[in-house]
């Protein structure tokens, strides 16, 4: 029996390396960043709003708003960029070689998931750091740094773990372009229009990957959107914790099911 933890670490390292080197990763994020800047800085009125938010609004509220904005759009990039990781193994035909290795499938999948996710989260973290830098420049308050990291961990990370697990797993059972299309479509439906009562969506439940329960439960604010107050969420800190645990728990369950499915498929070929 070979030790599996070193396999997880080794696979994580290489998957991180391969993902971080992808030009597509940086192009997609650069595109999203451009859209973000265009929406927030292109018009004098919106520019004025942003500057006002940075300098006069209470720090916590301003930074939570910034982080929520990041978490509204950047997960789209994460979802579509992780979706092709297992599909790529089939396309390049390395999976045949991997099945002949003594490393456990669970170790390979875990390493692939964590490595791809960490690499894909790096641009998001960089953007959060840019936000930290802006707030630091305007406010001259070093508490911005731990606050920024906390908000990243509490608001952004659980949802990213959740969608990454689905993005790794779902293309195993459906064509990759179909999954990417459905993912983007559902993201707009369920997470950008989540507050609209007409649209049936998980965005108002504990399974919301944009962190609505964490934002309201821990910090007392609503996720950005003028109609967010109509959501009738009534989140408490306990519900915020529950939401995070549910998101992470589902991510783990999805990975577990993925491993079982791949093993079952191999045994029944």
């Amino acid at each position: 029996m070979i030790a599996q933890f070193p396999v997880v670490l080794g696979v994580l390292r290489y998957e991180f390396r391969m993902q971080i080197r992808r030009p597509a990763l940086w192009i997609v994020f650069a595109f999203m960043l451009s859209m973000f800047l265009l929406l927030n800085f292109s018009m004098p009125e919106t520019r004025a709003d942003v500057i006002r938010a940075l300098s006069t609004r209470p720090l916590l509220k301003a930074f939570v708003g910034f982080t929520s904005d990041v978490n509204l759009y950047f997960p789209i990039c994460v979802g579509i960029l992780i979706a092709d990781r297992l599909w790529r193994d089939r396309r390049t035909k390395v999976d045949e070689l991997f099945w002949a290795m003594p490393a456990a499938l669970s170790a390979r999948i875990t390493g692939k998931y964590l490595g791809s996710l960490l690499a894909t989260l790096l641009p998001v973290l960089l953007f959060q750091c840019i936000g930290m830098g802006l707030f630091l420049y305007v406010r001259h308050d070093l508490m911005v740094i731990p606050l920024g990291l906390e908000l990243f961990a509490v608001i952004i990370l659980p949802g990213m773990l959740f969608i990454s697990a689905f993005s790794l797993a779902c293309p195993v059972i459906m064509p990759l372009p179909l999954y990417q299309f459905l993912f983007i479509g559902y993201w707009f439906w369920g997470n950008i229009l989540w507050f609209h009562p007409v649209f049936l969506s998980l965005g108002r439940t504990l399974v919301s990957p944009i962190g609505v329960y964490a934002v309201q439960g821990f910090y007392g604010f609503d996720v950005t959107g003028s109609h967010a107050a109509d959501s009738n969420l009534h989140a408490t800190p306990l519900l915020g914790v529950a939401s995070i645990l549910v998101l992470v728990g589902i991510a783990i369950a999805v990975l577990f099911i993925l491993i079982r499915l791949l093993k079952w498929r191999q045994a029944h070929m």
Binding site: T92, V94, L97, F98, A100, R108
Partner: protein
């Protein structure tokens, strides 16, 4: 390390039977597995490598039972596998890819792993290009990376599936010599439809067709199958008649020289006809002819 296969059957989903009650014992050293496309060679290789599960039958690789999960994992620790179509990550360098594979083979000590990777890159003459991305490698170079990854864990059992397909003659000779060197103290199962690869490297072989074993024995015994049945016939252009399979045709200008296997019949236009010493390819053709005759007589 001996491999014992008993009544091995594999039926894919959809009812395609790829292997039909195969019985085979593979001794140590180089062992050839010969057969046309669709014979079941790759299926057998994949079952031995633990990638596919058999529908019925038993496999023992040394002391390990290849039909259980525990046995398969144990076999994989002592196995080196070079698949027919080697997949690589194109954006990794040769060194990185081999390091990745070494990690999957359980080589977790970094220094020892890197040393082993360096040794193998040297052995397959890829040291100078080790830092280049695999997408820049030619087919022959990728195949060498393939054999290097198969040898990372110094396997006792090496499976190579069609290793020389698509290689130029020089690359093919280099590969064959490399395989022969490896066969000294391990079991090497070489699957191919190129008879010359087996002739140059293997003492023992088996021949497969349509999921069944047609022949098992030594290369000498396979040659014997064709003794007295191989002819060189020179004509003015007309093809030899009779119950024959034409193995080669050489146009000499005014005449054409045919190498045939079978029973040629007398005909006009033959300038010369003489029996010749059979090669392994002739033995292969002979066995395939016999199998077709048997099948035809059985009404299959």
């Amino acid at each position: 390390m001996q491999i014992a296969i008993h009544h091995l059957t594999k039926t894919y989903r959809g009812g395609v039977q790829a292997l039909n009650e195969i019985d085979l014992t593979i001794p140590g050293g180089m062992f050839g597995l010969l057969g046309p496309n669709g014979a079941g060679k790759t299926t057998l290789m994949r079952i031995l490598a633990g990638i596919l599960y058999p529908s019925a039958g038993s496999i023992r690789v040394g002391e390990y039972d290849g039909t259980t999960e525990k046995g398969r994992t144990a076999i994989k620790r002592t196995l080196g596998y070079l698949p027919q179509e080697l997949g690589v990550y194109p954006d990794l360098s040769a060194r990185e890819f081999l390091d990745y594979i070494a990690i999957l083979k359980g080589m977790d000590e970094r220094k020892a792993r890197q040393q082993r990777v360096g040794e193998l890159l040297e052995m397959v003459s890829l040291n100078d290009v080790a830092s280049r991305k695999l997408k820049t490698f030619s087919g022959g170079m990728k195949r060498r990376v393939g054999i290097a990854q198969a040898l990372l864990n110094d396997p006792q059992f090496l499976i190579v599936d069609e290793p020389t397909a698509g290689l130029d003659p020089e690359e093919r000779i280099r590969f064959r010599n490399l395989l022969s060197d490896l066969g000294g103290n391990r079991t090497v199962l070489l699957s191919t439809h190129i008879v010359e690869d087996i002739a140059q490297t293997c003492q023992n072989l088996a021949m497969m067709k349509s999921g069944a074993i047609l022949f098992r024995g030594t290369t000498g015994q396979m040659l014997q199958e064709a003794r007295g049945r191989v002819w060189t016939i020179t004509t003015r252009g007309n093809k030899p008649q009779g119950n024959v399979t034409i193995v080669s045709t050489v146009n000499m200008g005014d005449t054409v020289q045919y190498r045939v296997v079978g029973e040629p019949s007398p005909q006009d236009g033959i300038i010369a006809a003489r029996p010749v010493e059979p090669g392994l390819e002739d033995g292969y053709v002979c066995l395939m002819r016999e199998q077709r005759t048997l099948a035809s007589n059985a009404g299959v």
